[in-house]
C-alpha cells in the first residue's frame, strides 16, 4: 500500500544529497518558488509599483488589461498591478504570521492537553470551546473597540480566532499517539512534558498538523479582508488581496481583471503553501556514501 518515494524524487535527491542533505520534491519546490516569489514582491513592492496605490490613473473603472495598465484598473480607476503588488505585503506577511502563531499555540496546547489529560485537558478544552463559540465578528468588533486597530492587533486577533480549531485537531491526533507504548517509554524515562510533545508526539502527527496549517492559512487569508472591513488592521488606500476581491466584486459580471486577478493571486499563494507543505523537504537520514 505504502509507496516508496517516487523515483523522480530520488533522482533529484541524489543530485542534492552531497551538499544539502535534504530530499526535495519538484512539486514542493515549485510551491516554494512561488511563495518566495511573492515574498520578494512583498518586500520590494514599494520600489517596483508603477503607480502609487491611491492614485487614480484611469477615467474608466474596471478597465481591461492594457499596455499601460497591465492588470487593468479597479473600481475607482486605480492601477490594479500596483494594488496587487502592495497587497502582497499584507496578505503574505500578516497571514503567515497569524497562521504561524495560531498553529503553534493551538498545536502546542492541543498536545499538552492530550499528554497531560485530566483537569488540564478539561479546562483547556472547554475554554477554547468557549472561545470558539463567540462569533468572530463580535470578537473583531470588541477588539477594535477595546484595543484599537493596528497590524499587530490584527495578527493576534486572527490567531486567536483560529487557535481553537488548530487545538482541536492537534488534540484529537495527539490523544491517539499518546496511548502508544513509545510515549510510555519516554514518560518512565522521566521526560518533561515539552520533550514528550516535541519529540514523541509531534513527529507522529506532523502530516495532519501541517495539512491543517495549510488550510488555516487559506482561512486566514480570507478572514483578513473581513476584518479589514471591520476596520481592523489594513487601512486604505492599502488593501490585502481578499479586500481587493471584495471591493472590486462589482466587476465580476464584466469579468474585470480587478476581481479575477487578486483571486488568482490568492489561489496561487494558498495552493503553493499547501503543495509545499504536502511536499516538505525531508532531511536525509542516510548519510552513508557508497
Amino acid at each position: 500500500m505504502k509507496r516508496p518515494p517516487a523515483n523522480t524524487i530520488a533522482v533529484l535527491g541524489t543530485k542534492f544529497r552531497g551538499r544539502v542533505g535534504y530530499r526535495v520534491n519538484p512539486v514542493g519546490l515549485i510551491g516554494l518558488a512561488i511563495i518566495v516569489a511573492w515574498t520578494v514582491v512583498a518586500l520590494t513592492a514599494p520600489l517596483i509599483i508603477p503607480h502609487s496605490v491611491g492614485e487614480i490613473v484611469d477615467f474608466d473603472y474596471f478597465g481591461p488589461m492594457s499596455r499601460t495598465l497591465w492588470l487593468g484598473s479597479d473600481y475607482l480607476g486605480r492601477d490594479m498591478l500596483s494594488r496587487i503588488l502592495m497587497g502582497a505585503r499584507y496578505t503574505v506577511g500578516i497571514s503567515l504570521a497569524a497562521v504561524a502563531i495560531a498553529c503553534t499555540c493551538g498545536v502546542v496546547l492541543g498536545m499538552t492537553a492530550a499528554v497531560t489529560g485530566g483537569w488540564v485537558d478539561t479546562i483547556l478544552s472547554r475554554l477554547l470551546d468557549a472561545l470558539n463559540s463567540i462569533p468572530s465578528k463580535l470578537f473583531g468588533l470588541v477588539v477594535v473597540a477595546a484595543v484599537g486597530s493596528s497590524i499587530p492587533v490584527l495578527i493576534l486577533t486572527l490567531s486567536v480566532i483560529y487557535i481553537p480549531g488548530a487545538y482541536r485537531f492537534a488534540r484529537a491526533l495527539a490523544v491517539n499517539v499518546n496511548t502508544m507504548d513509545f510515549v510510555l517509554v519516554a514518560r518512565i524515562r522521566g521526560e518533561s512534558l515539552f520533550y514528550l510533545i516535541r519529540a514523541e508526539i509531534l513527529p507522529n502527527i506532523l502530516g495532519p498538523v501541517l495539512a491543517d496549517f495549510g488550510l488555516r492559512f487559506v482561512f486566514i487569508v480570507l478572514l483578513l479582508s473581513g476584518l479589514s472591513f471591520l476596520g481592523l488592521g489594513v487601512q486604505p488606500p492599502y488593501a490585502d488581496w481578499g479586500a481587493l476581491v471584495r471591493e472590486n466584486i462589482g466587476g465580476l459580471p464584466y469579468g474585470a481583471p480587478a476581481v479575477i486577478v487578486p483571486s488568482l493571486a490568492i489561489a496561487s499563494l494558498t495552493i503553493s503553501v499547501n503543495l509545499f507543505i504536502d511536499n516538505l523537504p525531508a532531511k536525509i537520514r542516510d548519510k552513508e556514501e557508497h
Binding site: 487614480i56 473603472y61 472591513f229 471591520l230 488606500p237 459580471p253
Partner: protein
C-alpha cells in the same frame, strides 16, 4: 435601455409587486416615528398616509388633510378629508392626528423627529375632522414639515405598531423584521389605486445580488443601484433606470474647535484639496452633482446657484497648509462604510494630499456604531446627511450655534439671527435672499466640505410603469408602491 421614466399612461390593475431595498434589520419597524431606513419609509408609505405630501416638483399637496391654513404662521388649522377609514374600518378623526403628532413629543417614543416636532406646542381638536396646531414660534414651513415620513398618521392609542394599521394603500399581511413584509391591496383606499394586488418588500443588502435578482426576474424593482452596476443594464432590454438627485450628501467634517481644524488655513486648504469633479466622476461614477460646501442642493427652491464650487487647486492648498504648518504631520481622517462613499472620497483626498506632502491617515472604522462613536466626535470625519423637506430644518439641525448636529462646531451669531428672521417671514423673496447669503457663509466659514450631492438610481423591469423621481428620495420618495402598475 436607459429611458428615465415612462410616460404617464392609463394604469392597469393587478399583479404581485416584489421590490427590494438595500438594508433592513431586526430594528425594522412599522412605527413611523421610529422609521430610520429607507425600507421603513417604504413600508410606512404603503400602510399609512401623511397630512401633506410633496410632489415631484417639490410642491406641497394635501393628502389626508383637506386644507392646512394659518394667518400668522404660528397657529395652524388642519381640516381632514372625510370618508377616510383605517384598515380596521374605523374612520379617521382629529384624535388620530393629534395622537400621531403628539407622540413625537414623548421621549419614550424614541422619535427621530422629536426635535422638529418640539416646535408644535399644543394641539386642539376643534371638531371631529379639524385640528388646531399651535407652534412655539411662527414657522411658514409647517405644511411641508408635515409631509415628512415620520409624521404619518396612525390610529389613536396604538401601542403595537407591528400590525401596521393605517389608512394606506396596502393592508399589512406579513411583517417579519429583517426578513420581509407583504401588503395586500386596500380595497377601500380613499385615493385611486393602488394598482397592484399585493406588494412584497424586503432588502437585499448586497449590491450585486440586488441587481442580479432584478435581472433574473425575481423582483420588479431594485432600489439604489451601485453606480458600478449600471453597466449591467447596458445592452439589456427590459429594464428602466430612474435617477433622483434629492440632496443627500456625504461630507467631510473638520471640527473647528479642536485639533488641526482650529487652524483656519488648514480648513480652507482642505476645501481646495478636494477634487469635486473627480469625486463625482470616479467615486460616484457620474451619479452625483458637484457640490459647493453647503447643504442646499440644486433641487431645492432656495438653492443659491451663484455660489460656485471651489476649484481643485493643490498649489493654493499647499500654500495654505504651509501657512498652517501642517505639512509633514500625520492627520487622521475617519471614514466608514456607514457614510456612503466616504472611504473612496477619503482615499482620493488622501492621494491628492500625498502629492503636495500632506499626510492624511485614513482610518476606516466599522459602520457598526459609527454614528454613535465617531460622527460629530472625531476631529476630522465623514458624515452623511439625508434630504430634509425645508432649508430651515437643515440649517437649524446642522449649522445654527445650538444645532444638535453641528458637525464642524460652526458658531456664528449672525447666522443664527438670519435663520430666525427667515423662518418667521412669509415673504418668499426676503427668505430667498437671506438663505442665499447664509449658504455663502456656510460654504466659506464652516468646516463641512460637501463635495457632491449624491444621486440615487432605482432600476425596475420595463413592465413596471408609473415610477417617477421625487425630491424626497429614491423609490418615488419611498411611496412608489401605490403609484406603480404592470403594463401587460
Amino acid at each position: 435601455g436607459r429611458a428615465t421614466s415612462a410616460l404617464a399612461a392609463t394604469p392597469k390593475s393587478g399583479g404581485a409587486l416584489k421590490a427590494a431595498g438595500w438594508s433592513s434589520s431586526t430594528a425594522d419597524t412599522l412605527d413611523p416615528a421610529k422609521a430610520s431606513l429607507s425600507t421603513d419609509y417604504v413600508r410606512c408609505c404603503a400602510f399609512y398616509n401623511r397630512l401633506t405630501i410633496i410632489d415631484k416638483d417639490g410642491v406641497t399637496h394635501m393628502e389626508l388633510a383637506e386644507s392646512i391654513e394659518s394667518k400668522d404662521a404660528q397657529t395652524w388649522t388642519v381640516k381632514l378629508k372625510t370618508g377616510v377609514t383605517f384598515h380596521d374600518g374605523k374612520d379617521l378623526t382629529a384624535d388620530d392626528v393629534i395622537f400621531s403628532l403628539q407622540r413625537h413629543l414623548d421621549k419614550a417614543t424614541g422619535s427621530k423627529v422629536a426635535k422638529i416636532a418640539a416646535q408644535m406646542q399644543s394641539f386642539k381638536a376643534v371638531d371631529k375632522t379639524t385640528v388646531e396646531i399651535t407652534l412655539v414660534a411662527p414657522n411658514a414651513d409647517l405644511p411641508t414639515i408635515l409631509a415628512m415620513h415620520h409624521f404619518m398618521i396612525v390610529q389613536n392609542g396604538t401601542t403595537d405598531f407591528s400590525k401596521g394599521i393605517g389608512t394606506g394603500a396596502f393592508k399589512r399581511e406579513v411583517f417579519e423584521p429583517g426578513v420581509r413584509s407583504v401588503g395586500l391591496r386596500n380595497t377601500s383606499y380613499f385615493k385611486d389605486g393602488p394598482h397592484v394586488d399585493s406588494f412584497e418588500y424586503f432588502a437585499i443588502s448586497d449590491d450585486n445580488a440586488r441587481v442580479n435578482a432584478l435581472l433574473s426576474g425575481d423582483i420588479h424593482l431594485a432600489a439604489t443601484i451601485n453606480p458600478r452596476s449600471l453597466r449591467m443594464f447596458e445592452g439589456v432590454d427590459g429594464f428602466t433606470l430612474s435617477k433622483t438627485t434629492s440632496g443627500n450628501y456625504t461630507n467631510l467634517n473638520i471640527r473647528l474647535d479642536q485639533g488641526f481644524g482650529a487652524k483656519k488655513e488648514f480648513v480652507e486648504g482642505m476645501k481646495y484639496l478636494v477634487n469635486r469633479e473627480q469625486i463625482v466622476a470616479s467615486a460616484l461614477r457620474g451619479l452625483g452633482v458637484v457640490g459647493n460646501d453647503q447643504p442646499i442642493s440644486p433641487a431645492n427652491f432656495f438653492h443659491n446657484a451663484d455660489l460656485k464650487p471651489k476649484a481643485f487647486d493643490p498649489d493654493k492648498a499647499k500654500f495654505l497648509f504651509d501657512k498652517a504648518g501642517v505639512l509633514g504631520e500625520t492627520i487622521p481622517v475617519i471614514a466608514s462604510e456607514a457614510a456612503n462613499a466616504s472611504v473612496d472620497m477619503a482615499m482620493m483626498i488622501q492621494a491628492a494630499g500625498a502629492e503636495i506632502g500632506l499626510k492624511l491617515d485614513v482610518q476606516r472604522v466599522p459602520s457598526d456604531g459609527y454614528w454613535d462613536n465617531y460622527w460629530l466626535k472625531a476631529p476630522i470625519h465623514f458624515g452623511n446627511i439625508n434630504p430634509r423637506p425645508t432649508l430651515d430644518i437643515l440649517f437649524s439641525l446642522l449649522y445654527s450655534s445650538d444645532a444638535p448636529w453641528n458637525e464642524s462646531q460652526y458658531k456664528s451669531p449672525k447666522f443664527d439671527k438670519m435663520l430666525l428672521e427667515a423662518r418667521a417671514s412669509l415673504d418668499q423673496d426676503k427668505r430667498r435672499q437671506l438663505y442665499a447669503e447664509m449658504q455663502v457663509m456656510v460654504a466659506d466659514e464652516a468646516g463641512t466640505i460637501i463635495p457632491a450631492y449624491l444621486s440615487n438610481v432605482d432600476a425596475t423591469t420595463s413592465k413596471l410603469k408609473g415610477l417617477e423621481p421625487s425630491p424626497l428620495g429614491g423609490q418615488m420618495g419611498y411611496a412608489f408602491a401605490e403609484n406603480v402598475w404592470f403594463d401587460a
